[in-house]
């Protein structure tokens, strides 16, 4: 409970990292002011009347009207016309958002339960985090492998859902270097809240350096750790999870007792087989509830996962 003491001072306005974000802030502010002007008089008037015309007070109540067509038509039409300004303003920005410029750098975002995988034009990929250069138009082609997700970056004031079977798009031109939050905003299952990362807006030189720097490509083990979350393994294979599944730390190279009384040594082949066809060799004391990942996982991902499981030594808690 180290976070029980709230974080002070609270942040009350999100950072804006693009021109469009600034425009949406302006729209929000202008809308708020206009709506306040439309609404506040009504509240003030009601408060005033509730006070002035309290029952029992001796005030002038003559000339009471039960209807007045002019007044009613005017307060029907005038606020509507004012609000239409915002329909057109917002619609204009919306259409801009929906039509990416042709010269944009294209990054592919793949959403799956519960991670984002971003692929850069040069083939570099990263999990949950996205590095982009400042001042350059970026188009993100968004896809989903399973359910509907939504790529949301508050600092860009922008989101776009990832719909399985289709490619949707989102584009932006970040104009401020910094690290900004990135979320999945469409509920996508158990670890929806963990499907979050960081958008790094970098200077072009730093971005180039990042692209070239080998360390930025995840190693087999660190990539595997993220896949362990990404494929949902950690949902069950974690101490204290609601679904009972064996915890895998230190399992590699040890003898595992099976349901049918036999035993097996947990080597690479066993780990692979257990992921692809879990029902074949059930560990004693557990139920055969794990789904098969055959066909759902690429060989490269499988290798990373196995490497990660091997790296877990006994007693080692999973890295947070």
């Amino acid at each position: 409970m180290q976070h029980f003491l709230p974080h002070f001072p609270p942040q009350l306005w999100p950072p804006a990292a693009s021109g469009m974000a600034a425009e949406i802030d302006a729209m929000f502010a202008a809308w708020s002011i206009v709506l306040f002007l439309l609404v506040a008089p009504v509240f003030a008037f009601m408060g005033y009347c509730a006070f002035k015309y309290r029952a029992g007070r001796d005030v002038d109540r003559s000339h009471r009207e039960a209807r007045n067509l002019t007044i009613e038509m005017s307060w029907m039409i005038i606020p509507f016309l004012i609000s239409l300004v915002f329909f057109f303003w917002a619609g204009d920005v919306f259409l801009q958002e929906q039509t990416p410029p042709p010269d944009a750098t294209v990054i592919t975002a793949m959403g799956r339960q519960w991670m984002w995988k971003f692929q850069h034009p040069g083939g570099q990929w990263e999990i949950n985090d996205l590095h982009v250069p400042v001042g350059q138009t970026i188009r993100v082609n968004i896809e989903s492998q399973d359910v509907i997700h939504s790529l949301y970056v508050p600092a860009l004031r922008l989101q776009q859902e990832a719909v399985p079977g289709r490619t949707t798009q989102l584009w932006f031109k970040a104009d401020r270097v910094g690290a900004y939050r990135l979320f999945c905003s469409e509920f996508c299952g158990a670890d929806h809240a963990l499907m979050a990362g960081t958008l790094y807006v970098m200077s072009p030189t730093a971005y180039q350096a990042w692209l070239e720097h080998a360390n930025n490509r995840p190693t087999l083990v660190s990539g595997g750790r993220q896949l362990f979350d990404g494929y949902g393994c950690s949902g069950c294979h974690t101490p204290g999870s609601a679904t009972r599944a064996p915890w895998l730390a230190g399992i590699y190279g040890h003898v595992v007792p099976l349901q049918d009384g036999s035993t097996v040594i947990a080597d690479d082949a066993y780990l692979r087989a257990s992921i692809l066809e879990p029902a074949k060799q059930i560990v004693a004391g557990y139920r055969p509830i794990m789904p098969s990942f055959a066909g759902a996982i690429s060989d490269a991902d499988l290798a990373s996962l196995v490497a990660y499981i091997k790296s877990l030594s006994a007693g080692n808690e999973p890295a947070p």
Partner: protein
């Protein structure tokens, strides 16, 4: 005791004969007279009890959600429990509380009274509707508490059809069944208004609450079947393998959302319209003045019900829908705000030069207008396409619809219950406690949900049980407000129940309000009126000059 008294008693003077009360509450007292009743007033009370139970359950889930969000790292509940909690909260509150809340309790009780009828058009269907509701909702409750459903109340495919590892099939079946109850009630009300009005009760002599109930029923009848079919398709896909939305085969999950929101947006007006109807009654009664612009308010109810069917896509701007469809739905959403604005301005004009009594129902009414307007204008912001791109699926949306659904529906429900409590039970509740609760409600509500607007604009997505620590202060504030809100719910439950035994007798018309329901006794007799009314007066015919106090 004086000797003369004893002698009198010994003389067997007959004790005075008191007529047993013949009101609907006392006319029969057996259990079967309640559970097999076809009296719309008793059915209204059956609904009142059932939805109160569901409201309590839903509130407990809400309380646990707020408890969990006090800390940012999700240490209190695991992801699965949290997801099941908000799904439970959503499903209960939408289908088992908000949709039936005002129409099926106050509406059932008052509709025939207000139009001078002996009962609704189909009393047996009315009872059947309650049974269907109870069976469907208890079944769903059982499933959701013992098994759990973790898709959110929106059941979006393909999460609900393929990926969710929970009891979606059973929950969906339960919701389909409850839908039939809505359809039966809506059907009953529409036909009742058309065919059972008392002699002289023309359309423009009907109370505005009846207009709003009619508009509500229209939505229930026309929208609920589309939810039913959407859920049937979902059920077929998940349970029978008859996939229609499956993206793996080229199906379109967005189509499910179209069908779902074709129901689920209009159903927001099912929650709000009856609240607006209650407001019209409360504001005129406590201003002691004829309502301003009767026809505008009446037609705006129908307008909301009709235009409400054109706006569903504003839930879907950023889900890959065509941007042109997005703009169409955005424009329609701006238009649907017009009739709501008319009502608010007209109520303000009604108060002008009235004789205002700030009793409990009026306090609820005033706070209703405040909350509804805030919820409404933020709705306009959400309907602005580009702005929605930032706050869609964040706490901004959560705050917005709670201002509408709790701020407008629950507050109106409580206001209406307080207003008609003397008619329903024949008793008066404690006025000071009522006022305290109304104030607590207003402040507790704002403290709970206003911070969520800020959180939303800050970018906190909804349905997160783990969130970045910088959002914590506002979350703690919101949770603190929720405790105040809980107290504001518990108080009325206590003093209203207390009043059943110890409350002062109300008399027929404690508020000196107008309307047919106040012309009969409190509580009304079994067939509502001792003499069937003939209507030869206009609605809300309050004296032109306020009564002298």
């Amino acid at each position: 005791m004086s000797p003369s008294d004893t002698t009198l008693r010994d003389l067997h003077v007959p004790t005075p004969v008191i007529d047993p009360p013949d009101d609907y509450l006392h006319v029969e007292q057996t259990l079967s007279s309640w559970i097999f009743t076809t009296d719309h007033k008793r059915i209204g009370l059956l609904y009142l009890v059932s939805i109160t139970v569901f409201f309590l359950l839903g509130s407990i889930a809400a309380g646990l959600i707020r408890l969990s969000l006090i800390v940012p790292d999700g240490e209190i509940f695991s992801n699965d429990i949290y997801n099941r909690l908000f799904t439970l909260h959503g499903v209960i509150m939408v289908w088992f509380f908000l949709v039936p809340s005002i129409p099926n309790t106050l509406g059932n009780f008052l509709l025939p009274l207000m139009i001078g009828a002996k009962d609704v058009a189909f009393p047996k269907l009315n009872l059947l509707s309650w049974y269907v509701f109870v069976l469907g909702s208890l079944f769903t409750m059982f499933v959701m508490i013992w098994g759990g459903v973790d898709t959110g109340w929106t059941f979006y495919t393909p999460l609900s059809t393929e990926y969710a590892d929970s009891y979606v099939i059973a929950a969906v079946l339960g919701v389909i069944v409850v839908g039939f109850s809505s359809i039966l009630t809506g059907l009953n009300f529409m036909v009742t208004v058309h065919k059972l009005r008392a002699p002289g009760m023309t359309w423009f002599r009907m109370p505005l609450f009846v207009w709003s109930l009619y508009a509500t029923s229209m939505i229930l009848v026309l929208a609920t079947p589309v939810l039913t079919i959407a859920l049937i398709l979902l059920f077929a896909e998940r349970a029978l393998g008859l996939a229609v939305f499956d993206p793996a085969n080229g199906g379109d999950p967005v189509l499910f959302q179209h069908l779902f929101w074709f129901y689920s947006h209009p159903v927001v007006y099912v929650m709000v319209l009856p609240g607006m109807g209650v407001m019209s009654e409360l504001i005129t009664a406590f201003s002691c003045k004829r309502v301003f612009g009767y026809k505008f308010i009446a037609f705006s109810s129908l307008g909301i019900a009709a235009i409400g069917f054109f706006v569903w896509g504003h839930h879907m701007f950023y889900n890959g829908m065509s941007p042109y469809a997005g703009l169409t739905f955005s424009l329609m959403s701006f238009i649907v705000a017009v009739p709501s604005a008319i009502k608010v301005y007209n109520w303000a004009a009604t108060i002008h030069k009235g004789a205002i009594r700030l009793d409990t129902p009026m306090l609820y009414a005033m706070s209703w207008i405040g909350l509804f307007v805030i919820g409404g204008v933020t709705g306009l912001m959400l309907a602005s396409t580009a702005l929605d791109g930032h706050v869609h699926d964040t706490y901004f949306v959560v705050a917005h619809f709670h201002y509408i659904m709790v701020g407008a529906t629950v507050v109106a429900f409580l206001g209406g219950i307080h207003f008609w409590w003397p008619k329903i039970t024949g008793r008066l509740y404690s006025e000071p406690w009522g006022r305290i609760s109304a104030f607590l409600m207003f402040f507790g509500f704002n403290m709970t949900f206003f911070p969520q607007y800020l959180l939303g604009y800050m970018g906190m997505p909804r349905r997160y049980h783990v969130y970045p620590p910088s959002y914590q202060v506002l979350n703690v504030l919101s949770s603190a407000g929720a405790t105040m809100l809980a107290v504001a719910y518990i108080f009325p439950m206590i003093y209203l129940i207390w009043s059943l035994w110890y409350g002062e007798r109300a008399g027929d018309n404690p508020w000196e309000a107008k309307g047919l329901e106040w012309t009969t006794t409190s509580p009304p007799p079994k067939h509502n009126f001792h003499h069937m009314p003939v209507v030869d007066f206009e609605p809300y015919d309050y004296p032109n000059i306020a009564p002298e106090k």
